[in-house]
Each structure stands twice: as structure tokens, then as C-alpha cells.
Amino acid sequence: MKCDICNKPAVVHEVTVKNGVTKEIHLCKEHAEEAGVAMPTHQPINQLLTQFVMSQGGQSSESSRKSCPGCGTTFSQFRQTGTLGCPECYDAFEEQLAPLIERAQNGATHHRGKVPKRAGDSLDRTVIIRQLTKELDQAVTAEQYERAAELRDRLRHIDETPASPQITKQAKRKAKRPPKKD
């Protein structure tokens, strides 16, 4: 796709509906800036992703097949969309994400802002629930029913600990949710 104004390749593609009339805009970087058309939100990360894929060469195929245990998203899917599948993706792809985030975030590597008031216990609980759920799945797959029953009890116990009913609901949901397959 070429720029509407010159012959350079267009990097900004926009379909706007104005007063019921659909208008398509394709602009190169220079003309987009000149027209004041903002780059799409995910442009920077997508650009970084492309650079990343190119620099990785052949070895990227193996790591891009790896999928997130929480939602089943693969790294190559993230590369296509620029968005992750679930919060656990940050753990699953930490190694590949870290350099990308660092570049997208002007060199920053760690959060320095506010921490949720209850972060301490909610984080622990999330981690424990995740671990127990994983073990429970394994036990069920291996047909170790006694072990599975014991794990279920422990999960139930954790569910009862949180302070707010809303959290209980979310935590239970988490424990019950089967991993998504593609």
C-alpha cells in the first residue's frame, strides 16, 4: 500500500467514518506526521517486534511456538497483534518480552510506581493458587485421585481466606478455569 500523497510505502492506515462517510487514509511516516495523523497505538511495539524478529533470525521459531499456560497465547500471536493474552503472559514470555519492553519504555526495566495496597497477600495468593491449580491438573491427568482431592481441599481453603467476596469469586474462577487450548 502506497502513501496517498507520495509513492513511499504507507505506515499509517486509517478508516474513519465521518458524518456517515467512510474515508480511507494511507500515509507514509513523513506525511502522517505532517498531517498530524497519530501513529496507531501499537505502532512502536510492532516496529520493535519486527526488528526483534529480524535480529533473532532462525532461532526465533522455537521460542515463538512456546505458549502461555494461562491463556494459550503463543509468542508469535503476540507478535502479530501487539497485545498479550493474559497477565500470566508476562511470566511465560518474560525472557523475550524484557528487551522489547525495555526499548518501548525508554530503557526502563522495572516498575517504580505505586503498589496495590493489598499487593502482598493478593500476589502470594495468586501465585499459590496458580501453583496448586497446576498440580491439580497434573494429578487429574495422572489419575491420582487422592492427591487431586487433597489439592482441591487446599484450593477451597485458600478461597475462603480473602477479605472481599469479589476476590473470592475471582480466585475461585481462576482455580476452576481450564487452560485454554488452541
Partner: protein, 345 residues
């Protein structure tokens, strides 16, 4: 949905209002235990709307919040919410279960199932970023009492796109920079913004054109800097610099280009007072120049609040609300010219 055609806060002034139209603070949050919106099933998205509704309405904020189910709202109402900067165009046009909670004074909105599960936003006229940052913290803490947000000690608040991770906080300032535009100095702002890792966008944010010399400046970096450091950078460095550029350009116009300035502002007012058909962009452009003329005391018989209100009233959704019907593009242009002529008579 009750949307009076009363001017919302947008018609008010506020500190540094000659250059700073409005400030906005947005925080992106996701609920623990769910995939991000794009990855969630429709059932999960429904559940997210349901949970968010409980969380918001049961919280201390609940009393003053109006809940709008966007999947059921008419496209005209959604357009109105976009024009009032209460929801994003992305959320208005999405095809999935989604909602927004709006405070009665229209300063706080909480979008559900935008790119992230929750996007809470505060907006106010003039240069009031510090107040807004303080308020958004309170909103965040209030909601946090009712739910768990996805957070990691390394990455901070976890968001669907890694460009928002960390604080999840986006500060945006809508600036009116007509003199920089007239003197072709707007590139200076763009370059300065780029050096500071800021994004410069149009009137409606992402993917919109900068109609009428209104520019939205926002931070691009959300990681590695605390909320107060980010705020300080905006309040101490970024905004004063841009405000100063614009003031310098205005001074040059008044001192050295009086004729050009007077021609532009009087011509703009004449068009607005006599046009029978007005396109949105054309109207924005002329209103912008009249606004400049008022601030530089080149125009005496026009009130600033009238212009500020018109900037909102000329938008398609507001015109349709005013007329009470969906309008074709031609009828919109006619209605817009009528509204403007009447207000400036």
C-alpha cells in the same frame, strides 16, 4: 441515558486556560483471573462487565456513577460520549459486551472492556493535572478494595499492551496552539515532545487529526518512573515549555504581524457569522482562530465561554441531540452553521 445539552465542564475555563484546554489522567487496570479483553470469550467479557458493575456501583463511588451499557446504547449516544471525551472511539465502535460508568459531573469515567478490563479516566478544564493525579489514586484505591488488579512486582500493573505496563498511567493535556501553527513553529513542539518521549495527537486522541490547532500531548513511557515523577515532569518541564512557546508566538503575532493576526481572527468570525453550511473541520479551524482573537483582545464582542461551548456543540453527536434526529452529512453542515450563527449573533 440522560444527556442534557447543558454545557459540560468543557465550557469552563481553569488555570492557564488560554493555552491549556483540558487535562486528562487515565489508569489502565485488569482483573486477576481473566484473560485480557481481546483474548477473552464473549461469556468472559459479559462476566467482566457484570463484575465491574458490581465493583463500581458497590464502591463508595457508586452513588454518583451512572452506568451505561454500551452494547445496548444507541450509536448516537455512543457518539455523544466520544465527543465529551468520556469514552474512546475504540470502545464506542467495538462489537462486544462493554460498558462505561460516568460520574454525574462528567469528570470521571470508567470504561469496561476497552483494550484493558478497566480504564478509569478523570478530565478537567485548564491546567489541573496534580489534582487529577491525586483523584485517580483515590478512585484506584476505592476500586481496589473490591477487586484484585493484575500486578507483578517487576512490571507493575499488567496491561494488554506492554506499552502501558508499569503505572498504567497516561497523562494527556489538550493544548490550543493556534499561534505556533500560524507562525509555522509547531514543529518545534513536536521535536521537543519527541525528545521527551511524549506523543502529540489530535483532538480525539489516537488516530485523529489535529483539527483547529488543538493538540493532545501525552506520555509514552509508563514504566520505571513513579506517578509523582511523571507528574512533576509534566508540570515542571513539559507544560511550561509548550505554554511558553505559544505565548512567545502570540507575542510575535501581536507585535510584528498585527495585520495578519487581525485578518485571520476577523475573517474567521465573519465566516462563522455568515456561513449557511459549515463542515466540522472548517468550524473547528475558525473557532480556534476566534478563540485566539479573544485571548489577544483583538475581538471584543465575543465571549470565551460561547466559543468553548461551540467547540462541543458543533460535533455531529451534539448536533443530532440538539435537533433530535439522525442527520445526513448535508443536514449536519446546515445545522452546524445555524447553531454557530445563532450563538454568535
Amino acid at each position: 441515558m440522560e444527556f442534557a445539552s447543558k454545557g459540560s465542564w468543557l465550557s469552563e475555563g481553569g488555570p492557564e486556560a488560554d493555552v491549556v484546554m483540558s487535562c486528562r489522567v487515565r489508569a489502565a487496570r485488569n482483573l486477576v483471573g481473566f484473560p485480557f479483553v481481546a483474548r477473552a470469550s464473549d461469556a468472559e467479557r459479559h462476566e467482566l462487565v457484570h463484575i465491574a458493575k458490581q465493583v463500581v456501583l458497590d464502591s463508595e463511588l457508586g452513588q454518583e456513577m451512572i452506568w451505561v451499557d454500551l452494547a445496548k446504547a444507541t450509536s448516537r449516544d455512543r457518539q455523544l460520549l466520544v465527543e465529551r471525551h468520556l469514552i474512546s472511539r475504540h470502545l464506542a465502535e467495538a462489537d462486544m459486551p462493554r460498558a462505561v460508568a460516568v460520574s454525574e459531573d462528567e469528570t470521571l469515567s470508567i470504561m469496561i472492556n476497552e483494550e484493558d478490563h478497566l480504564r478509569m479516566q478523570l478530565i478537567a478544564p485548564g491546567f489541573r493535572l496534580a489534582e487529577l493525579v491525586e483523584q485517580i489514586e483515590k478512585v484506584d484505591e476505592t476500586l481496589e478494595q473490591k477487586t484484585d488488579f493484575a500486578f507483578s512486582s517487576r512490571w507493575g500493573y499488567l496491561t494488554a499492551c506492554p506499552t502501558n505496563v508499569g503505572t498504567g498511567i497516561r497523562l494527556s493535556v489538550m493544548m490550543h496552539l493556534p499561534a505556533l501553527k500560524l507562525t509555522n513553529e509547531i514543529e518545534r513542539v513536536r521535536r521537543a515532545a519527541k525528545d521527551l518521549h511524549l506523543a502529540v495527537r489530535g483532538y480525539y486522541g489516537e488516530g485523529s487529526e489535529s483539527a483547529g490547532d488543538f493538540y493532545q500531548i501525552s506520555n509514552q513511557v509508563t514504566l520505571g518512573q513513579s506517578e509523582s515523577e511523571l507528574l512533576e515532569e509534566f508540570v515542571q518541564v513539559v507544560l511550561p515549555r509548550v505554554i511558553d512557546y505559544e505565548h512567545q508566538s502570540r507575542k510575535i503575532l501581536v507585535e510584528r504581524n498585527t495585520n495578519l493576526l487581525d485578518d485571520r481572527v476577523h475573517r474567521a468570525l465573519a465566516v462563522l457569522r455568515s456561513a449557511r453550511l459549515l463542515g466540522a473541520e472548517e468550524a473547528m479551524k475558525h473557532l480556534s482562530r476566534v478563540r485566539l482573537g479573544i485571548h489577544l483582545r483583538r475581538l471584543q464582542d465575543v465571549q470565551l465561554d460561547v466559543i468553548n461551548r461551540l467547540l462541543l456543540q458543533i460535533q455531529p453527536g451534539h448536533l443530532q441531540l440538539h435537533i433530535g434526529a439522525d442527520l445526513s452529512p448535508d443536514r449536519l453542515r446546515e445545522a452546524r452553521a445555524n447553531v454557530v450563527r445563532k450563538a454568535l449573533r
